[in-house]
């Protein structure tokens, strides 16, 4: 539902240009300055501040009339009569679509992100979790991410490890270097020799297949060739299903809620609570990230453009990342509407690229 409103940012947002009438030069400059100043200070911006801090070349009175006009057109809002102006959703949107200068990270920042991603262990969940942590620390906002749908990964290796008479440990490795594992306790005693043969057999038969292709039936067929306890067959199937089934298809990681405490817009405990509940619930964040999978670049959703009324004072930036050159997962940042859009987009872009590099596909191609 949010995707309808949220416009893409990167590939020259034509829709936005069509919808939003272009503002004249002076209005543009004033709107931009108000947004910039408000993002920086968090205080409503008045005509005096604008003329004093920025060299606009016009008097406060003129600024006032322009502000009134921008207010009327819906780009700005007044918290109350005797306060300065604050950007509205529309004002932020105009800023994001047309005014904002893209920011570039310093080489150190880029390297920091790349390094953090690279030094993660090769477990998919851990990588994505780590990515969201890094982003949340870097941005001092809430960061969240979803893992790729796993069914598209390619089977590389399975190992049935005999770790006790009644316990077998399963390890599944895919082309992304990701591994899943589980220990299975079997009623019947497992035979180490049989396990070895079964391992061999499974690997020979399944090599190169997409995880989603491997069904319980297929496994049964293979199991029949070696005397493998039924419990193990279903365990293997479960392990696969956990990664391809509708349920566990994707995992969502979110973190950094404590950063909200620093934001003055969340001084109100009820608002804070609403957002924290949103994090617990996961559904909404999931939908936002899922929606961004269809776009090539960053997606920005501002205030009421977001699907949830509780988020009307927030903005969300999401960026998809690729596995084997196809959009597969996404990372995002949730913060107050008054966020540093350009910087967050740059950071997310960099993170997405780092993940792309990690998930380039076949490890041996690297």
């Amino acid at each position: 539902m949010s995707a309808k409103h949220a416009k893409q940012q990167r590939p020259a947002p034509e829709t936005a240009r069509a919808k939003e009438p272009e503002l004249d030069r002076r209005k543009t400059s004033i709107l931009g300055t108000v947004v910039y100043e408000y993002i920086a200070t968090g205080e409503p911006v008045g005509s005096a501040t604008l003329t004093q801090k920025y060299n606009l070349g016009i008097s406060p009175a003129t600024v006032r009339s322009e502000l009134a006009s921008l207010d009327e057109e819906g780009y700005l809002e007044q918290p109350h009569t005797s306060a300065g102006r604050v950007p509205s959703d529309r004002g932020y949107r105009y800023y994001v679509d047309r005014l904002m200068l893209p920011e570039t990270l310093t080489p150190e920042e880029r390297e920091r992100i790349r390094g953090e991603v690279r030094r993660a262990t090769h477990q998919l969940d851990a990588v994505v979790d780590h990515a969201s942590h890094v982003l949340s620390n870097l941005t001092r906002s809430i960061a969240f991410a979803i893992t790729p749908r796993l069914g598209s990964q390619v089977f590389r290796h399975i190992e049935l490890i005999h770790v006790g008479a009644h316990a077998t440990h399963l390890v599944l490795v895919t082309n992304l270097g990701l591994a899943a594992q589980v220990t299975v306790e079997t009623a019947h005693e497992a035979n180490a020799e049989h396990l070895l043969r079964a391992t061999h057999n499974l690997n020979a038969r399944l090599e190169g297949k997409a995880l989603s292709e491997i069904t319980l039936d297929k496994l049964r067929a293979i199991a029949r060739e070696t005397p493998l306890p039924e419990e193990l067959v279903t365990a293997v199937a479960d392990l696969l299903a956990e990664h391809t089934g509708v349920e566990g298809e994707r995992r969502l990681f979110a973190g950094g809620a404590h950063n909200l405490l620093d934001q003055q817009e969340f001084r109100d405990l009820r608002k804070l609570r609403a957002i924290l509940d949103l994090l617990e619930e996961q559904q909404t964040l999931y939908a936002l990230l899922h929606g961004s999978l269809n776009s090539a670049g960053p997606t920005v959703a501002i205030g009421h453009e977001l699907p949830n009324a509780d988020m009307s004072e927030c903005s969300v930036v999401t960026v998809p990342y690729k596995v084997a050159n196809k959009n597969a997962g996404a990372v995002g940042i949730l913060g107050p509407r008054r966020m540093q859009y350009a910087r967050l987009i740059a950071l997310l872009d960099c993170m997405a690229e780092s993940l792309n590099a990690l998930f380039v596909g076949e490890p041996e191609l690297e």
Copy 2:
């Protein structure tokens, strides 16, 4: 530092009895009622409330003089002159040590906890993380837990899996069914045949050894027998070190911070922030859990008994859990001083027992 103050709860706290003079019957009853009522309502308790809600058989005036006396002796405090009484640290301590009735969980609750623990995957980190999540949801407080020191675990199996010309996946399984894994990228091409032989060799040589016994030197010696790339040897050593070294010896999991928002004592954002920072920092929580490893049962630390001044309005209950019948890890709960001590102790006890059952030692003995 906290352990000095925190007294054990279960095994008849003699020290407490020696230190704290016994209060007369009526004072005891009043103190108990005040604590009970305050825990239930969160409002300072006055003489009127006490005589109306509880059948004390004495008039408000008499209650008042007793309250004044308990106040003087340091068991109660007054937020301000015209308010009711609130338990002090000492008051809570007396309550916890001598007044509180142990609570028993319903069979459903016990089963719920046991079930949650059992259905966890057999990865140590995941189990402990899950345990802390379950506790935090059940108690609507912050729950936290540390994993066992891993060096005491016994090597059961290692597997070097060839997942690409330049990538090898290592899986380590211990007697607890726990597994750790990592993917290693090697500069030299790994030979599948060699990996197989090395796997065999390592398993034969290391079976039954404590992880802490396995040193880099020993690994090198074994590696020399089969042509194993140096990178893999160090990777194996790193994997082991990660689990036995001082650094990664234990992991701490904490969660449920959002529950604090419901507590009226954390309406103040600064206090909230102080606690959240504590969670991030981990050090303090770690120390608390580590301290509880020496005790047999639950440990309660109240207000200023805690090591950190920021926690002076909180209490912490910790309980150790066992691996192979020896205290190895611990779980704890952090909440406002006004917590349901008896219930939390019961829940933690149950959780510890469930973990004990899971970590009973050799899986094949089950």
